[in-house]
């Protein structure tokens, strides 16, 4: 039973992809940078190239952090839905398995937030 109810109750999923006007939701978390109190949620076109996400979208989210300008992008480690991931900067998000409500996390080795204590 997937809900305790008086009859065979079916709920309507509120956040299916069709409700986001052609976009999909993507969650992004920068590990050890908790000055941003929580990961972020972004509506993005499924065919947006990963490179565009990194170069055009993420700066607007994170560049107020002093570590942002120091990032060496070759050393960044990514996961998608908690599995190690090597992005193809040219390919679209959906094409490389980043689906609706997928979670992208990245770590920036050597950069661990304000005072190095994950802020």
């Amino acid at each position: 039973m997937t809900v305790r109810a008086l009859y065979d109750y079916q709920g309507e999923a509120k956040d299916t992809q069709d409700k986001f006007h052609g976009n999909q939701l993507v969650y992004i978390g920068w590990d050890k940078h908790l000055m941003f109190c929580a990961p972020h949620c972004l509506p993005l076109p499924p065919d947006m190239p990963f490179g565009a996400l990194v170069k055009e979208v993420l700066p607007g989210v994170y560049d107020s952090h002093p570590d942002w300008a120091q990032i060496n992008w070759d050393s960044v480690e990514w996961t998608v839905d908690q599995k190690p991931f090597t992005p193809d900067m040219e390919k679209g998000l959906a094409e490389q398995g980043i689906g609706h409500k997928s979670l992208i996390r990245f770590t920036t080795p050597g950069l661990n937030g304000i005072a190095g204590v994950a802020s």
């Binding site: 997937t2 809900v3 305790r4 109810a5 008086l6 109750y9 079916q10 709920g11 309507e12 999923a13 509120k14 956040d15 299916t16 409700k19 986001f20 006007h21 976009n23 939701l25 969650y27 978390g29 590990d31 050890k32 908790l34 000055m35 941003f36 109190c37 929580a38 990961p39 972020h40 949620c41 972004l42 509506p43 607007g60 989210v61 107020s64 002093p66 839905d81 908690q82 689906g99 609706h100 409500k101 997928s102 979670l103 996390r105 661990n112 304000i114 005072a115 204590v117 994950a118 802020s119």
Partner: protein, 512 residues
């Protein structure tokens, strides 16, 4: 009339239990359609104990007396402009959060207990629920009177019911109560009367009421005590429903345990808002969240569950996680509100130097190590580039609806991510507690109205913060932003005869 000669027990019997009857024209199951579907088995409703033995006439008399006293004091408070006596206008923000977050819940409780009173087949449980339903309506009313007084002088109170339906952080208490109200009567009363009012109430009431008293807010102290005088009855109902279910049939035990697990976790997550109120929002602190959790949950709660062990009930699942989180909870939550203070109906601020020292002392393991550097950085940013805000919307937990700001139980430097998939869609959670609740009834929680997703679906007035604020009925520059930039602060200084300059001098004098 013979009624006067009856003792309390007889009178209770005559005026409550004896007024019930067994239906004969209709089947009992049709009259009480919600009585069985939750799986709770009741053999004998007459075994329901009500130590208060309250009857309607006595109830009416007591409550009328309370109301008379309460409104006399509220009236005097208004006449004397006693809102000017609070320690500092920052305090009012604790009140804003409480009154806009809790008042609609009092009203929801009124509805919920009316439904429970209708749906329990036993007269004892019906009567207790109906009294509580009226109590909760009274609580909602007295709090609205208090809102109405403070609304004349401070921002953020003006449209609390509209805000309750829409504002992102108010969806946290709202969804908590809607979850309970859309359950059956047994789960509802377990959720609200037992888990919330019995197990966790001291964590809500103690900091809020002592906080009000410490900060010279007599209006709040007054309605608080008036409401609290009903609470002993509510707590009794909470304990009675649990013991009654457990004693009626062994098969009820696992169901009750599951509800205790669920509603402990949901209640605890809701109290995260209280943790930041205690540690950050009261100009005069009462005790730290960690101290309160140790005293009221670990010690008192521990004793309660020792007592329930004879029924086969254990401590709520994940209580250990709440203990691991106690030294970080308030800091993580205040950080969330500081991040999104431009979208809230309360003001936020950086703790003063003396307040940071208090936090270091209360949280020797965590504050200086993890949180002070963050505040120092924000202070520097404020000095050089203005107040820092987070300009991208956060990821929310599907269950508690709080931004995913909680960290791994064993690692305060890493966000806790949990995930489930249901019917091909991914769902995300802040904790194992929230994930388990979803996994048990996914069909319920897939319907969650998550404020961030609603904004992106275009259902909240637009995509920009000003548009969404307008849809919330919040005025940018009045209700939101940093306390330092607020009308509340400017007015306060004016009323207290403090020009900005005088305030600066006083700050220096206080060495802050």
């Amino acid at each position: 009339m013979t009624a006067n000669k009856m003792n309390m027990r007889e009178k209770y019997q005559r005026m409550t239990r004896d007024l019930a009857w067994k239906p004969t024209y209709q089947k009992e199951d049709d009259v009480y359609p919600q009585a069985k579907y939750e799986g709770i088995i009741i053999h004998d409703w007459d075994k329901w104990e009500d130590p208060f033995r309250l009857t309607v006439d006595a109830y009416w008399k007591y409550q009328a007396e309370k109301e008379r006293k309460l409104y006399a004091i509220i009236e005097a408070f208004a006449q004397n402009n006693a809102q000017l006596n609070v320690t500092d206008a920052r305090y009012i923000n604790a009140l804003k959060l409480f009154l806009t977050g809790v008042t609609p819940l009092e009203y929801a409780a009124h509805r919920g207990f009316a439904m429970a009173g209708r749906n329990f087949p036993g007269a004892g449980a019906q009567v207790s629920s109906q009294f509580q339903s009226i109590d909760e309506l009274r609580h909602a009313q007295t709090q609205i009177h208090t809102i109405s007084h403070y609304n004349k002088y401070f921002n953020g109170f003006h449209d609390f019911n509209h805000m309750h339906q829409r504002v992102w952080y108010l969806s946290v208490p709202k969804s908590f109560f809607e979850d309970a109200m859309s359950a059956g009567p047994f789960e509802f009363v377990t959720a609200v009367s037992f888990s919330f009012e019995y197990v966790l109430t001291n964590l809500l009431f103690m900091p809020f009421m002592s906080g009000a008293a410490f900060n010279d807010d007599m209006a709040t102290v007054t309605f608080g005590f008036s409401a609290q005088s009903d609470e002993s009855r509510h707590m009794t109902l909470g304990l009675e429903i649990i013991k009654f279910m457990l004693e009626q049939d062994e098969r009820n035990v696992p169901i009750v345990q599951k509800w205790i697990d669920k509603w402990f976790w949901r209640g605890y997550r809701l109290l995260a808002l209280v943790s930041m109120m205690m540690d950050y929002m009261l100009p005069k602190r009462v005790m730290s969240w960690q101290e309160a959790w140790e005293m009221y949950f670990e010690q008192n709660g521990g004793a309660l569950f020792d007592d329930l062990a004879r029924y086969g009930i254990r401590m709520p699942k994940y209580w250990e996680v709440s203990v691991k989180e106690k030294s970080r909870l308030s800091h993580e939550v205040w950080s969330i509100f500081y991040n999104y203070g431009h979208a809230a109906a309360i003001h936020t601020w950086l703790p003063k130097a003396s307040e940071m020292d208090w936090l270091s002392e209360k949280y020797p393991e965590t504050f200086d190590k993890y949180y002070r550097p963050r505040f120092d950085h924000w202070a520097e940013h404020k000095e050089k580039n203005g107040r820092w805000y987070n300009n991208t919307l956060p990821m929310l937990c599907q269950c508690c609806q709080i931004p995913m700001g909680f960290t791994e139980p064993d690692d305060p430097t890493t966000i806790c991510y949990r995930e489930s998939e249901y019917n091909g869609v991914k769902y995300h959670f802040c904790s194992d507690g929230c994930k388990d609740i979803f996994d048990d009834e996914p069909e319920k929680y897939v319907q969650a109205w998550l404020p961030v997703h609603q904004i992106y679906q275009g259902n909240c007035g637009g995509a920009s913060v000003p548009e969404v604020l307008e849809w919330y009925h919040l005025k940018h520059g009045q209700d939101n932003l940093d306390y330092d930039d607020s009308q509340d602060k400017a007015n306060w200084n004016k009323w207290k005869g403090l020009t900005e300059e005088a305030a600066q001098v006083m700050k220096k004098a206080a060495n802050e």
